[in-house]
């Protein structure tokens, strides 16, 4: 089992969700985050004081999938989230050792 952690543009969440649905993955957890990378930020000025707004709004999508689904899932995410412009984001794959469903309390294979 793997945890796929994708950082995408805020307006791509719906597309990613749909794309994952198409490969029969429906469980996911989404977090508002702010990201920094190659994408250039902005300068905010409040009464003459300048602030660097270099952490830009992104969304982090976490999906835990069975090992054999990883490639499909990653491909789906990348395709749905890509615009081709700097700032599109990353996908990381992290090992998961156990997984439980709270409702039933049992260890699940997803």
């Amino acid at each position: 089992m793997k945890l796929i952690k994708a950082i995408v543009r805020p307006n791509k969440v719906d597309d990613v969700k749909e794309a994952l649905g198409r490969v029969s993955l429906s469980g996911m957890t989404v977090t508002e985050v702010r990201g920094h990378g190659k994408q250039k930020g902005h300068t905010a000025i409040y009464r003459g004081k300048e602030y660097d707004v270099s952490l830009l709004p992104k969304m982090e999508i976490e999906v835990v999938v069975a090992d054999n689904m990883v490639d499909d899932a990653v491909a789906a995410i990348i395709q749905a989230a890509r615009t081709g412009e700097i700032g599109d984001g990353r996908v990381f794959v992290i090992p998961v050792e156990q997984s439980y469903r709270i409702r039933t309390g049992e260890r699940s294979e997803l």
Binding site: N11, D14, H42, T43, A44, I45, Y46, V53, L56
Partner: protein, 489 residues
């Protein structure tokens, strides 16, 4: 931006040249203003005589005039403040809550900038263009720099209050009208473009319409000698049709927002919109009841009609929504209220309470259909429904004014013997509907043509549409260098 800087420079320079004209006592303010009523006045009575003399009476008469003026002035100053409150914070919040978070300050800023900008233009030439003597289409330059506008009343415009009061009250209308348009251009129009377009629009669309409908001798004026007597008590045509129709043109000209209609663009804070709507409702009492220009029974009547229409339209929209969508929403409730307020605006000084309820109901249901059904049918991106509510609601209201106006509320027309003639259809004057249509048509025409031309000019000079990147990042950061919320610290 260069253009704007130049205009701004002008603003910075002009007053120097006009100070001299202002520094000597103005002919229009022959008496110090404070003489009027600030200190307790000596009794008008000559204590010795037991018979009242004519001169005693004359003194008393003056004091009565002063008291009446103070009473009306109190109401009109409050009304002016209420109408300003409609734009800021009212409309700014209403719109600010409806946009996505990244464009919140940009839209609110537009309302605020118009509060400042239109004020300057009004002082320079705007008031004169609207209410100075001129042609049937536009006022002249007699009141440029507010020349001749002092504390003495102008008999044509609020005969019991200082003309300055009338001037500043009318200014508040001139502020909110272009601000309404920003609902259609939201989330994608450049600030510089907005500033330039709105300045032009105010001068070339609003001013003529205001003069035609409310100015003495204006083409559509109903009481001061117009050719086509159109009834518009507080601005159904002048304010709502012009802004609403112009909004539609802007929406079409600018094109859709990136991602519209596929991407979800829910209102970022309905709490803000709710607050704004409440302030609009409260402020609208100043807008409509203040249009009586006095604290009299007519003001009360307009106040009641305004409140009733807002209530009925709220119910109308909610019932329509509940029936067709299964759930009544807070956004529906406040949208309905605004629709009702828009529709009653032209009628408020002409109709009794029950017809006000009808007008409200019609507007509530009608604007619901416009916003949910007509808009998605045609597919234009009127971002915050400036046309759907103000254009449509204003048009319905102007028509229904012709239906429900009655002399029992305001005797607008008289025969040779001074007897009141019927006013609206229900009162026996079906022909009024025709005049209302003329007025509506004129407002639509002016707004359509004027907006296209002025938008085109603005587009050529400073540009109107923000870049794709700006739109994605949000106008707050890219146009104004700010964010609405910085909650993380």
């Amino acid at each position: 931006m260069k253009t704007f800087a130049a205009a701004a420079l002008l603003c910075l320079l002009f007053p120097v040249s006009v100070l001299r004209a202002q520094s000597s006592p103005q002919p229009s303010i022959p008496q110090p203003l404070s003489a009027q009523a600030a200190s307790p006045q000596p009794s008008a009575l000559s204590p010795s005589a037991s018979q009242a003399s004519q001169s005693d009476l004359a003194k008393l008469d003056q004091r009565v005039t002063a008291a009446q003026s103070s009473a009306d002035n109190a109401w009109m100053l409050v009304s002016a403040a209420l109408v300003l409150m409609m734009t800021g914070p009212g409309l700014a919040l209403f719109y600010g809550g409806l946009v996505r978070q990244k464009n919140t300050l940009a839209i609110m800023m537009q309302s605020f900038a118009l509060m400042a900008l239109i004020t300057i233009l009004w002082a320079l030439v705007g008031y004169s263009l609207c209410f100075g003597e001129g042609t049937p289409i536009i006022g002249g330059f007699s009141h440029v720099l507010l020349r001749g506008v002092g504390v003495d009343p102008n008999a044509d415009y609020g005969g019991t209050i200082p003309q300055l009061t009338f001037m500043v009250y009318q200014l508040m209308f001139a502020i909110i009208t272009p601000a309404l348009i920003t609902g259609a251009t939201a989330e994608r129009m450049k600030f510089s473009g907005t500033v330039m377009f709105m300045s032009l629009w105010f001068l070339f669309v609003y001013a003529p319409l205001a003069h035609m409908v409310w100015g003495k001798g204006g083409l559509l004026n109903a009481t001061l000698g117009g050719t086509f007597p159109t009834l518009d008590f507080a601005g159904g045509t002048v304010v709502h049709i012009t802004s609403g129709v112009s909004a539609l043109v802007c929406a079409l000209y600018l094109g859709k927002r990136q991602g519209y209609p596929k991407e979800p663009m829910p209102p970022h804070s309905l709490v803000l919109s709710f607050m704004g709507a409440c302030m609009l409702w409260v402020g609208w009492f100043g807008f409509n009841a203040g249009s009586a220009l006095a604290s009299n029974g007519l003001a009360t009547s307009a106040f009641v009609a305004t409140h009733f229409a807002a209530a009925a339209a709220t119910i109308g929209w909610l019932v329509a929504e509940w029936t067709t969508r299964g759930r009544p929403s807070a956004l529906g409730a406040i949208s309905g209220a605004v629709a009702g307020l828009v529709a009653i605006t032209p009628a408020s000084g002409f109709v009794t309470p029950m017809p006000a309820l009808v007008i409200g109901l019609v507007a509530g249901v009608g604007c619901f259909l416009m916003v949910t059904w007509v808009k998605s049918l045609f597919g234009y991106d009127d971002a915050l429904d400036a046309f759907g509510v103000h254009g449509a609601g204003g048009t319905m209201g102007a028509l229904l004014t012709g239906v429900f106006a009655t002399r029992s509320v305001q005797a607008v027309f008289h025969d040779a013997q001074g007897r009141a003639l019927p006013v609206g259809w229900i009162d026996g004057n079906i022909g009024q509907i025709g005049y209302q249509i003329v007025g509506i048509g004129m407002a639509w025409a002016f707004a359509l043509v004027g907006t296209i031309v002025l938008l085109k000019i603005t587009d050529l000079v400073v540009g109107v549409r923000a870049s794709e990147e700006q739109e994605i990042e949000g106008l707050d950061l890219t146009e104004h260098g700010e964010e609405a919320y910085n909650l993380e610290m």
